[in-house]
């Protein structure tokens, strides 16, 4: 992990100055957008397959149940080692992945009994696992502080602040021991608190304690003034490192197993027959989903992370019928949402509208007493932005969108009206009842239409030169007869 980060840094330094790199990594905006984009990329790629497999809400379930994995591993580690483990320990992440797989296995076991449908099986499994996790947490883990804000919205805006330092040059690790001249020694009373006496009383016992002993990494050594020459350091935010590794893993998974994923998503039986091991692939997918859910937890919170799995693929699904295009569009929607969302949270809508001004306008217009400063959760704003893109795709999608559908329906209605009138005229012209059936005054009754509708349609048809009105009768023009013939030939005779 650390070596990987180091490698990437070395590579980057071939192209950019070390100061520029540090400036980039210390900028809240660039780090937040970069981390968000990585989460969006992972989520969108994996979510695409979840959506197509009809398991969109599995990400919801998994993002809840990873808590059980984390808690159980945490308690097991505490019990085994006798001390409180580090919350960023990789073992906890493994436990979380295990819980994700457990969720899927449990759901499938319940479902396979044939007694419970898929949605209910999922809805039974994850509340149970989550409830167990909550019981364990409240019963046994009371010294770990869980901030509800952090759980809900994450702290992607603060992602830049928690860093790992990498030293490139003038790296000197300092170790101070008790006999070092730099050590600051002091005396501490060992039995004062026990006996409730002051250090000046008789019977107080002392021991020598070193205040600044220990091993100093180059960054801390420079901070403490222990070395003279400033080391060349690069500070990599922790979330960036984690999400970077997960992004590489996800990309590798999707690219390497593209063919297998495609076949097993659309035709699992065929994948079996071809020997592609779809079950194994399925569990690998679920492990990746769990890992991303855990990795993104700190940045965007436990519930909003689901959005990164569901919304971009749903938007992409409305836009295309091809898996390859969908796999390209869905990360695009996610990343664009992250990009626009950061600015939205900071009060600017695509740099076009200013949210503060909008609030002031709302206050002035509706007499509201809203606060005048727009300052909202960054991750929530990112998700809202993705929602906006989903909405746009819903309305504007060229093939399946609301607008395209409305236009198609309108054209179909026009066509239907046109040929109902033309057909009626053609059927009755030259017959004994022609005068009665085609009279302008009564035609609407024969068609079971309202008078106004007939007038509307007739006006259109006359403008197009398809019908003419002669002596109070509606008749076809030559052009109209030709059109009708072509229509019948194409749509009726041709079909038969």
């Amino acid at each position: 992990m650390v070596a990987l980060e180091r490698l990437v840094i070395e590579l980057l330094l071939l192209f950019v100055e070390h100061d520029a790199l540090n400036a980039f990594l210390r900028d809240p905006r660039s780090v937040a957008v970069l981390v968000g984009a990585m989460i969006a990329l992972c989520g969108a790629l994996l979510g695409t397959f979840l959506l197509l497999r009809g398991q969109a809400l599995t990400s919801d379930a998994i993002s809840h149940t990873v808590l059980l994995g984390i808690v159980v591993t945490f308690l097991a580690l505490t019990w085994l080692t006798g001390s409180t483990p580090d919350l960023s320990s990789p073992l906890l992440v493994l436990g979380a992945a295990g819980a994700g797989v457990l969720t899927v296995v449990l759901t499938e076991t319940i479902q396979r009994s044939g007694l419970v449908k898929q949605d209910a099986a999922l809805g039974l499994t994850f509340p149970l696992l989550f409830a167990l996790a909550v019981i364990l947490v409240t019963r046994y883990v009371d010294n770990v502080h869980l901030d509800t804000d952090a759980v809900l919205t994450g702290e992607i805006g603060m992602a830049w602040a928690r860093t790992n330092s990498h030293c490139l040059d003038h790296c000197e690790t300092i170790t101070i021991t008790e006999d070092d001249p730099r050590a600051q020694m002091t005396r501490q009373c060992t039995n004062c608190r026990q006996l409730g006496i002051s250090p000046r009383d008789d019977g107080a016992q002392f021991r020598e304690v070193c205040l600044n002993c220990g091993t100093y990494s180059p960054a801390r050594a420079w901070q403490a003034g222990l070395i003279d020459q400033q080391p060349t350091l690069v500070f990599v935010p922790k979330s960036l490192g984690i999400m970077g590794a997960l992004t590489l893993l996800t990309l590798a998974f999707v690219l390497l197993f593209y063919k297998e994923l495609k076949v097993s998503t659309f035709d699992e039986a065929l994948a079996h027959a071809l020997g592609l091991r779809p079950r194994l692939l399925h569990y690998a997918l679920m492990v990746l989903v769990s890992l991303v859910a855990v990795g993104a937890f700190e940045a965007v919170g436990s519930i909003l992370v689901i959005a990164f799995f569901i919304v971009p693929p749903a938007a992409a699904y409305l836009l295309t019928d091809r898996l390859s295009v969908m796999l390209f569009l869905s990360p695009l929607v996610g990343v664009a949402g992250v990009w626009g969302g950061y600015d939205l949270a900071r009060g600017s809508l695509f740099g076009v509208a200013d949210m503060d001004a909008l609030l002031a306008w709302a206050n002035a217009t509706f007499g509201l007493q809203l606060g005048a400063v727009w300052d909202v959760s960054i991750s929530a704003a990112m998700v809202l932005m993705m929602g906006l893109f989903f909405f746009l795709a819903w309305v504007l999608s060229p093939k399946h969108g609301l607008l395209a559908t409305a236009v198609r329906r309108l054209r179909q209605r026009y066509q239907f009206d046109t040929f109902v009138v033309l057909g009626h005229i053609d059927n009755h012209s030259g017959t004994a009842r022609q005068a009665e059936e085609l009279a302008l005054e009564t035609l609407h009754a024969h068609l079971h239409w309202s008078r106004s509708k007939l007038w509307r349609v007739l006006a259109r048809l006359r403008a197009l030169g398809l019908v003419q009105v002669r002596e109070g009768q509606v008749l076809l023009t030559a052009h109209g007869a030709q059109r009708l013939l072509a229509f019948r030939h194409h749509n009726l005779i041709g079909r038969w």
Binding site: Q55, G123, V134, T153, A307, V311, G371, V376, A380, V383
Partner: protein
């Protein structure tokens, strides 16, 4: 067949009631639970909430919309935030806001499934996260305001069963009664809608309105339960009793009654169990009890249950072996 099933359901209900009575006395003597006023209130609230959700959950489960509870309980958040911004911290307004937002969520969900090719699950997911994100954005905006009365807005969302007071339970009971009356009045329509919506439409029922009415009932149950019980509890409480009840009967009426009884049992017993130790949370304990009921039902229900199926298969195999005797050699080979 019907009479037999009827008897079975009545026996089951009697058994559950007996079990609950036994549990109450056992918890008082054996587990040392002290039935204080608070505990009685919370347990009663759990019983009512469980019954209400159990009954409505039947429809959600049969319509394969089990996770609607999850979606709607999250979707309530922006309504609460908007109500708070406009009116302030007043319970009625907050409940109304929550209901309105969830209801809009249902509407959006139906709109998405009707006009796009997205299925019900992703539509639910999209509505869940978008509504929730909007709520969180508004909540973070509220928190940035210099206004002290925002405290407690979050427990409103995530529930605090222990904070239940007698008035809440009365409210809950009144609303439940209302929901049951509506359910009884539209029983035939809801039944038709659940099992064959197209047939209902072809027979001239206003399927759209009925759908909306049924969703509104579920929204009401969720919103009422939310502030007492929390989001994840609502999901489980909606699904588990209905799933358990489904295993014991093939009739909707019996399933609904059974689910209500199971839900009430889980709500009450879970609440009492959480009083055994001060550190046990109420909501999750109710879920665990409800899931135990599901597990017992899945395993031991007659006809459908796992055990019954295994026994039946065994009997069939033996019968088959008797009717079609295998050659001596093969029978030995298999043994």
């Amino acid at each position: 067949m019907d009479a037999q099933q009827n008897r079975r359901v009545w026996r089951l209900i009697a058994g559950i009631v007996l079990l609950a009575c036994l549990f109450v006395s056992f918890s008082a003597w054996g587990l040392g639970v002290n039935y204080t006023y608070t505990l009685r209130t919370v347990a009663l609230g759990g019983v009512v909430l469980g019954a209400l959700n159990g009954v409505l959950g039947c429809f959600a489960v049969l319509r394969q919309e089990s996770l609607i509870g999850d979606a709607l309980s999250h979707a309530a958040l922006p309504g609460v935030a908007v109500a708070f911004l406009l009116v302030g911290r007043e319970l009625g307004a907050l409940l109304l806001g929550a209901g309105a937002a969830s209801w809009l969520g249902v509407y959006a969900m139906h709109a998405i499934t009707r006009t796009t090719r997205l299925k019900r699950e992703p539509a639910m997911g999209v509505v869940l996260v978008l509504w929730f994100a909007l709520g969180l954005a508004l909540l973070s905006y509220i928190q940035s305001l210099p206004n002290a009365s925002q405290a407690g807005l979050k427990t409103f969302i995530f529930g605090q069963a222990a904070a239940m007071v007698a008035q809440d339970v009365q409210w809950l009971a009144g609303m439940s009664a209302l929901v049951f009356v509506v359910l009884a009045a539209f029983w035939k329509e809801f039944k038709l809608l659940t099992f064959d919506a197209e047939f209902a439409q072809a027979n001239g029922f206003a399927v759209g309105w009925l759908n909306l009415l049924l969703s509104t009932l579920i929204v009401a149950a969720i919103v009422l339960g939310l502030q007492l019980a929390g989001v994840v509890l609502m999901v489980g409480l909606l699904i588990a009793p209905a799933t358990a009840a489904r295993q014991w009967t093939h009739r909707l009426s019996q399933m609904v009654v059974l689910a209500g009884v199971f839900g009430a049992f889980a709500g009450g017993v879970g609440a009492v169990l959480s009083a055994v130790d001060a550190k046990l949370p109420t909501g999750p304990m109710i879920i665990v009890v409800a899931f135990s009921v599901v597990l017992v039902s899945l395993l031991f229900a007659p006809e459908r249950g796992v055990l019954a199926t295994l026994l039946q298969r065994r009997a069939e195999r033996l019968r088959f072996a008797k009717v079609v005797p295998l050659p001596e050699r093969e029978r030995n080979g298999r043994a």
